[in-house]
């Protein structure tokens, strides 16, 4: 089964067993990966990231696949393959 590295930052990381973890999953898109994480680890992870009204990523969060913002690829339908590195983070804007 393909292995993915998941890195989650700031408050998001607290919802998972580890902020930096490797998972074996059949998920082939970012949406499927988020569903997998919600089922296997914590449903709140998905509740935080996905806006239930639109089904899209909440404006507060960013998701990178191998350093590339999924907004520039195929958003939640961005494809994943073995060895990919997926990073979730909420940017903070205070100064």
């Amino acid at each position: 089964m393909p292995k993915l590295t998941i890195r989650s930052f700031a408050t998001l990381g607290e919802l998972l067993p580890s902020k930096n973890m490797e998972v074996s999953t059949s998920a082939t898109t970012v949406q499927q990966l988020i569903d997998f994480i919600a089922k296997e680890y914590n449903p709140r992870f998905k509740e935080q990231i996905i806006d239930p009204k639109t089904g899209k990523v909440h404006g507060l969060y960013k998701i990178f696949v191998n350093g590339r913002d999924i907004d520039f690829v195929d958003r939640l339908e961005t494809k994943l393959k073995d060895g990919d590195n997926v990073a979730f983070f909420p940017p903070v804007g205070g100064g």
């Binding site: 990178f64 913002d69 940017p91 903070v92 804007g93 100064g95």
Partner: protein, 245 residues
Amino acid sequence: MSLSPSELERYERQMLISGWGVEGQKKLKSAKVAVVGIGGLGCSAAIYLAAAGIGKIILVDKGKFKLNNLNRQILCWQRDVGKFKAEVAKEKLEALNPEIEVEAVVAEITKDNAHDVIGDVDVVLDGQDNWKTRFIINEYCVRHSIPFIHAGVSALHGQMTTIVPGKGPCFRCIFPKDPPEVEKILVLGATPALLASLQVMETVKLVTGIGKPLVGRMLFANGEEMVFETVEVKRNVECPVCSNL
């Protein structure tokens, strides 16, 4: 440009750093750096820029100090509450280092006035507390090929990256959508101080040519768990701001 005997003494400890020396210090003396926003980030950054000997520092902020700024905006002392931030900061920096030039600009940066307010500088440091102005500054910096060192903080967390137009992603490449603004950001003073110190390190590196700047990487600082990580960030070939570079 030469260094005076007092400058040679003042900067002695940093000039001993490998690759720095008198030549590196002269580069700092010749450098012009703008700090846009004199809040938690801007106050700490400005102090270390002045202490390091940046020859000209431009401080931009339209606001006045308030009592609830004092936990983090360390150029403001009790007696300065109610005074313009940029002017107070200028006074303190000149007292710290009379061998540099400091300019206070009391203004809000807009698309129309960015050139007049920031001007022709070598580096811009992000001291903003809102996303909208950061995007305006990014556009200005990309247009004029000026490195822009971004940082943002909340509570005990922060992120930063160094934008060198044409060499890595710009701010709009990284944030294609404007993140939502937060009205009242929670923050411990040590958090912007930490990120501001890193911004100054990046500035000094860019000016002197020492080290490897944080271009194409975003650093995340998690003060709650004392974990520092970086994630790669890439250019967007269709970026509306920098794709022409």
